[in-house]
Amino acid sequence: MSYIEFKDVNKIYGEKESEIHALVNTSFQIEKSELVVILGPSGAGKTTALNILGGMDNATNGEVIIDGNNITHYNKKQLTRYRRNDIGFVFQFYNLIQNLTALENVELATEICKDHFDPKEILKSVGLENRMNNFPSQLSGGEQQRVAIARAIAKNPKILLADEPTGALDYMTGKQILKLLKQIQQERGVTVIIITHNSAIAPMADKVIKFKNGQVEDITINEKPLPVDEIEW
């Protein structure tokens, strides 16, 4: 059995007549320590998949199994616990708390989980040892995203979910962030899932899952993923 199993998952929003099928019989697997890119235009269902994987929403039916735990029918509290202990989130717009310093933003996350890394060490590892006591508004976009990544991995999560992590960044900075994500996957063995509409990113992944109209259109496995430096868009 794979580390992450998505089996015939359906997600239906709304009531009878105005039903929207966001996901239709979606299935895929992700192995432990893989770097996966979920690709697709907006409205393809990738964000819905992310929501379900990230424990922010339940599937309407089908099965979602993470590391042997079936989370399909988790209640709110179980989902919260799942998010808290197993998931690290990186948002497109960083979502840092403006009123907390970089260090404190990381601490905010480690505060609530038992098995976490030292926030300072983590910030050092993302190259922010000198910016720890700065507030988000004093940091550049790339630096802010690093803080967000540090916040996500400091929790020592099983899965790192990144939603358009480069979406708000310029080309160079975006590349550096992708490098960081790759480095984390390689050095720490964290399963990294990047959701994006930018197909240029795909070559860096171990596995690429393409979404279209709420369905998985294609799954490609890169035997030799490219280093980030070699990809261009």
């Binding site: 919260t80 708390i97 009123n99 907390l100 905010l108 996350a109 505060e111 507030f135 929790k155």
Partner: protein, 853 residues
């Protein structure tokens, strides 16, 4: 299109809309209601004045008013009526000081209100005032009038009436008995033998309000005219009276001179016998006395004057006007606090709403809508909320608040038919202020937002950047704080404007609630403080005037025999008048013949320092305040034509009436006491009554009264007063609730993205709740503490403006009130917290993904 949009947004945010309407409703309603009370009360008196055709001037002549005076005034075009009046003592069960008036069935001025029975027809009939003193009198009872020049001295009561010249319980002073008129009586004018009148009433043809400036002017001109007329009448009358006396004087002078010359001639003549000399000397002496008497007579006549008093110097009308002024004073400050709090909350709400919809504004702007068109949506939202709130507010406010307030004052006055009107000017005023504030806030924030270019607007406003707070510079404390507490403290101080608004909102409403309770405390405390703590005796016995020492000793002997009476204090009590500003204050001067400390507690209210009556004078606190006297100052006053100039040795706690306490001096003869204070065992009301009946049997006792009686009458007045406090508590409580609710909901909606993010991070609902609530609690604690302080000041201010000269409130808020206020606030914040818990639970985590930065 945009109009439709604003209705949709009302529907979508109906909770916010309703709370906006409610705040406006409370603010405007309270403002209009309180402000309307004073004019309504004035209207009521005016209505009464017109209804009963109350006099405009009351004329009194020391020489008596003659028929020709009346005719003269009538000839000058005045509507006048002259009546007979005198004071007398009437004994029925006990002695009472009574004012007797003549009743004219054709009278048009000061028409009487018949309460029970019928008006007098025969000379031997009368109607009397219905009040505390006469409550046990029955129709058919007979009253005997000893003094005065009446045909029939035994009068049968045919009914009870209320005279419009006495609109309050307060009546004129007299030199009889206790110095106050107990009740008044009307008997037909045919029953009077005097050929002169005592009072002449003038009724002007007046449609103006007696509180208006026009009326004041009218009174002034008429007063001058009347002055001229009466002066002339007075001079001619004086001449008339003086001419015969002067003739008499000159005859007397001649006689005296003749006798004197005779006496001078024979004085040294040894031939005239001593006997003859003596006879002549005594004749001379008699003539001298007559001469002096005549001179005194002439002097009195020459000094005689007419007095012209207008309606505003009527004791009841004066008091009533003072009360309406006090009420107007309260109406200055209270609704203001209310309004400020309400408006601030509206401001926060509207600001929030505009900021929340930046993206939408940006979209509309990029579509080419004009600023005004976009703004109109928010203006419609705020305008409709303000108008709805104001209309409901003034409708309820005008109806409810003045009525309750009038009912409370009505206990002290006999004015029926409360004139409760819808005061358009006040309604417009309140609505306008509310409109200016809410629309001002709306327009201000919309313009600020609209100034930005659409592209900027499509992105949400950059959140305010984080800042270090002062506390962080003190690492000693900061390091010890838990991480989540640090966050809280930073957040509290991040938004200065919000911080201030919240603190003002919470402290304002806390202050109002506390003020409500505090007023209730101070009002309810007055009676027990005065009649249990300060006055520790249970009954007062007044002795008949001119009792001899033996008679008094006899009475005391009798009293000592009663088992119920445990202690007796002999005192001399005299009523005096002290001038203060334009008014005179009635002060009771008490000289104890024994140890007063067991009967009246003489001590400083604040320091509890005990005073001993050994020298100087101890005066009660309120009169000291009025006269601005301190311990060590000297005070002059006159008791029974004897002038005193005494050093003030103490200012004693006292809440009702004014008292001077003088130690017994050598001049006070042993027997000059006229009143006895009694301490009794614990008696029920019935036992007190029985004792009173038994004591009245003893000859020489004029009256007996129990402190419990005054306590009861006073208590009921004060109870009504408490209702006002209750209105305050309820409306302030409501306001507090809405304020808290609004602030909390704004707080959540403002930070929805931040909260969604920490939810994604895996914060449990409870943790998310604590994350925001900790801040609210800190603001709540700060706001409440400030509010308690402000409430205290508010209580002090309000009590000082509304207390009458005759009374004093102890403006100290009792501990339970702080407790209740806190309790109410805590209950409200808890309810608000619980609702916010569910609101937080509902926050969609997806918010954290979709928003743009």
């Amino acid at each position: 299109m945009l109009v439709k949009e604003s209705f949709i947004s009302i529907k979508k945010n109906y909770k916010r809309y309703i709370s906006l309407v409610l705040i406006i409703l409370l603010g405007v309603g309270f403002y209009a209601g309180i402000k309307a009370s004073s004019p309504d009360m004035k209207d009521t008196l005016n209505h009464f004045y017109q209804e009963h055709n109350l006099y405009d001037f009351q004329l009194i002549s020391e020489l008596g008013i003659l028929e020709e005076d009346v005719t003269e005034l009538k000839n000058k075009g005045y509507t006048v009526e002259a009546i007979h009046s005198f004071d007398t003592i009437i004994k029925k069960q006990e002695e009472n000081a009574v004012k007797v008036y003549s009743y004219d069935k054709d009278s048009k001025i000061n028409t009487l209100t018949l309460i029970e029975g019928k008006l007098p027809q025969q000379e031997n009939e009368c109607v009397i005032e219905k009040n505390e003193t006469t409550k046990d009198f029955q129709i058919g009872d007979k009253l005997t009038v000893e003094q005065g020049n009446l045909k029939q001295k035994e009068l049968t009561i045919t009914g009870f009436i209320q005279s419009p010249i006495y609109i309050s319980q307060e009546k004129d002073s007299t030199n009889l008995l206790s110095g106050k008129i107990d009740y008044y009586l009307y008997t037909p004018k045919e029953n009077f033998l005097d050929d002169y009148y005592s009072i002449l009433y003038v009724d002007l043809d007046n449609e103006d309000s007696i509180f208006s400036d026009d009326y004041d002017k009218k009174i002034e001109t008429e007063n001058e005219k009347l002055q001229t007329i009466t002066e002339r009448l007075n001079t001619s009358r004086k001449e008339e009276l003086l001419n015969p006396i002067r003739e008499q004087q000159s005859t007397l002078e001649q006689q005296y001179n003749t006798v004197k010359t005779q006496y001078e001639n024979i004085k040294n003549n040894p031939n005239v016998s001593d006997q003859q000399k003596e006879r002549l000397a005594s004749t001379l002496e008699t003539l001298e006395t007559s001469k002096a008497e005549l001179e005194e007579n002439i002097q009195t006549i020459e000094d005689s004057d007419w007095y012209i008093l207008d309606i505003t110097s009527n004791i009841g009308v004066y008091q009533y006007e003072q009360d309406t002024l006090r009420l107007a004073n309260i109406a200055q400050i209270f609704p203001l606090v209310f309004f400020v709090v309400a408006i601030l909350v509206c401001l926060t709400t509207m600001t929030r709403m505009v900021e929340e919809q930046r993206v939408q504004i940006g979209t509309l702007k990029s579509l080419g809508y004009t600023n005004l068109a976009i703004m109109s949506k928010y203006i419609i939202y705020a305008l409709s909320a303000t108008l709805i709130g104001s209309i409901i507010g003034v409708t309820i406010g005008f109806k409810v608040i003045p009525n309750i307030i009038f009912n409370m004052y009505d206990v002290a006055y006999n004015i029926p038919d409360f004139q409760n009107s819808f005061q358009t000017d006040l309604a417009i005023q309140g609505t306008l202020i509310a409109l200016i504030c809410t629309l001002g806030a709306t327009i201000y924030t919309s313009i600020k937002t609209l100034k930005e270019v659409p592209a900027e607007l499509l992105r949400p406003k950059a959140p305010k950047s984080g800042k270090r707070v002062l506390l962080e510079r003190i690492p000693f404390i900061w390091k010890r704080l838990h991480f989540s507490h640090k966050v809280t403290i930073r957040n509290v101080f991040r938004y200065k404007k919000k911080f201030l608004m919240t603190i003002i909102g919470i402290s304002g409403s806390t202050a109002l609630v506390l003020a409500g309770f505090g007023l209730k405390d101070c009002i309810e405390r007055l009676v027990p403080d005065q009649y249990e703590n300060v006055f520790q005796y249970q009954a007062t016995v007044t002795l008949t005037e001119n009792s001899t020492t033996e008679e008094k000793e006899q009475i005391i002997n009798e009293l000592e025999k009663k088992e119920e009476i445990t202690d007796i204090l002999k005192i001399n009590q005299e009523g005096i008048q002290i001038d203060y500003n334009d008014t005179t204050q009635n002060v009771q001067v008490i000289v104890p013949y024994g140890d007063i400390e067991n009967f009246i507690r003489l001590q400083n209210r604040e320091t509890n320092e005990q005073y001993h009556l050994t020298n100087g004078v101890i005066i009660s606190e309120k009169i000291a305040t009025l006269l601005d006297k301190q311990v060590g100052d000297t005070i002059s006053f006159t008791v029974n034509k004897k002038d005193y100039q005494e050093e003030i040795t103490g200012i004693t706690e006292n809440y009702f009436n004014h008292y001077f306490y003088l130690p017994q001096s050598e001049e006070n003869e042993e027997n000059s006491y006229n009143t006895l204070f009694l301490k009794t065992t614990n008696l029920t009301e019935k036992e007190e009554k029985d004792l009173a009946t038994a004591l009245k049997e003893i000859p020489g006792i004029s009256s007996i009264s129990f402190t419990s009686d005054s306590k009861n009458t006073f208590d009921s007045t004060m109870k009504n007063f408490s209702y006002v406090a209750l209105i305050l508590i309820i409306s302030a409580g409501l306001l507090a609730f809405i304020v808290l609710y609004n602030l909390e909901s704004v707080n959540i909606s403002e930070r929805i993205r931040e909260l969604a993010s920490i939810k994604v991070l895996g914060f449990y609902d409870k943790e998310v709740y604590l994350y925001t609530t900790r801040e609210t609690i800190i603001l709540f604690v700060i706001g409440t503490i400030i509010g308690l302080g402000l409430g205290n000041i508010l209580v002090y201010y309000v009590l000082k403006t509304c207390e009458q000269d005759i009374m004093m409130f102890n403006p100290v808020v009792a501990w339970p009130s702080y407790f209740y206020t806190l309790l109410i606030m805590i209950v409200f914040i808890s309810i608000v917290s619980i609702t916010s818990y569910f609101a937080l639970k509902k926050i969609d985590m997806i918010e954290s993904l979709k928003s743009v930065e």
